[in-house]
Amino acid sequence: MSRYILKRLVMLIPVLIGVTFMVYFILSLSPGDTAAIIAGEGADAQTIEAVRKDLGLDKPVIVQYGKYMWNLLHGDMGVSYSTKRPVFTTIMSSFPNTAKLAFWSILVAVAIALPIGIISATRQYSAVDNVGMVAALLGVATPNFWLGLMLIIVFSLNLGILPSGGMSGWKSYIMPAITLGTGDAALICRMTRSSMLEVIRQDYIRTARAKGVPEKTVIRKHALKNALIPVVTVIGLQFGSLLGGATLTETVFAWPGVGRLVVDSIKSKDAPMVLGCIVMLTITFSVINLIVDLLYAYIDPRIKAQYKKK
């Protein structure tokens, strides 16, 4: 098993190289002179040149990239072009916030999605199923930032029971987590439903019933665990994308997370910052995928056996 984990972690290296290269390349494509942006409005040509030299932007892209990677391999993510602060500390101050939010959002999503998905599946084509599915779909269909703003108006402004934004105490988690959670809930819900439908058609469910296992236990003990495997994948993927893709929600709720950081950095062409974020996200994303895969093994002994062999 540990060999398997090690192998997966080693596989991460080429992905990291690929990702950083791709992002570096795209960023260098983008219009706008980085030096001019850093130098700021009103800087003269001389200043811009000075900044350019200072940051090493006068060298060819590939050299810059090489230098970046070299430093990265030595554990140095560099300093932000725009704030001069070390990239790593900046990311570390916002990444945990995003992670916390992502965690609660997924929790909300799962708490909503699993019961609805299961009930929908066990009563396929019933009214409960239809209502549940349409509700779930509404979750996917509603643009995040819109829902966020609506929630703020209702719960902060009109009812005054929740803080409109920022990250202070458990109350401030509620609305962002719901905003993010509902979208994911929809996906998880649908996945749970279809996976559950698939599983309850299986012979072993019929066997369990034939053994006299009460219906509730059949669902809980026999069906759910089997149905969870694809659901766990979706949860893992969603969690991964929450870590990087919560930009809109973070903006609406003034959440000091990495999503805003990375978008701001993209816009200001702050390459070290963008790359730092991307590297960080890639690593966590891969680690989450790994955890998901290990979870599979925990859920499904057949998969565990496969990992052991590899």
């Binding site: 990702v19 643009p143 930032f145 703003l149 991964g240 994308s241 893709g245 991307i278 996200l281």
Partner: protein, 298 residues
Amino acid sequence: MATTNNSAAQAGTATKKRGQFKETWRRLKKNRMAMIGLTVVVFLVLISIFADVLFDYDTVVIKQNTQIRLQGPSAEHWLGTDEFGRDILARLVHGSRVSLSVGVVAVSISLVLGGSLGAAAGFYGGTIDNVIMRFMDILLAVPSLLLSITIVSALGPSIINLMLAIAISSLPGYARIVRASVLTVKDQEFVEAAKCIGANNFEIILSHIIPNCMAPIIVQVSLKVASAILSTSGLSFLGLGVKAPTPEWGAMLSGGRAYLRNAPHLTIFPGIAIIITILSLNLLGDGLRDALDPKLKK
């Protein structure tokens, strides 16, 4: 008795030619939710086709009239007017064109690109598979919205770039789906049978594998068009949307957010338009999934 039987079947042959379609359609028809979805989608497509007939672009859609700005729904302007006094309904109608075409084009691009990559990976396996899928892993490692943002800010905001960005960021999804379905189809005996009667790889992919991978792809497409529309609105929120004054739902939605409290209709109507579209595409997609998957037959 035998003869009557025969002639009855003979009469049926002409229609049976398109059995697969008919079968799917027959099953789809029974799914009320999916039919609602389909109706709405067809309606939207019609609206976007006939947008110019309904509202003139130059004189109604982009023409400003600040005297009547931010008016609520009225007989004259069914859905009210926006911050420049433009008719929101007219903009929504024309916006359906942009939103739908962004969705459709983005999805087509990534379907064709991602699909061929995935098909190649799945069919040939080995090194080709490895190279392609590792490349997809790289794309997949970056959250798709971030990737779109990076690409749009690199290429500059415009409809085409928006489509490209969304297309590229959803490449890996298609590659994976197509690859997976190719893999399942590839090992079916009928592919071996084709090989056995002397079909080459190209013929096999074209006439056996692709048609049999269509079901999951069709489903994916209908769902992805929806998420492309959503992504567009997200990018508009970040100021990376289509060029003004082109009406686009996402841009309308995020542009109206400054007026959320005083003139909520600016955001509510585009919001509803997006929700309805995505909802119906999803209903249709889910319905297609059920209709195309004989296992789910009741």
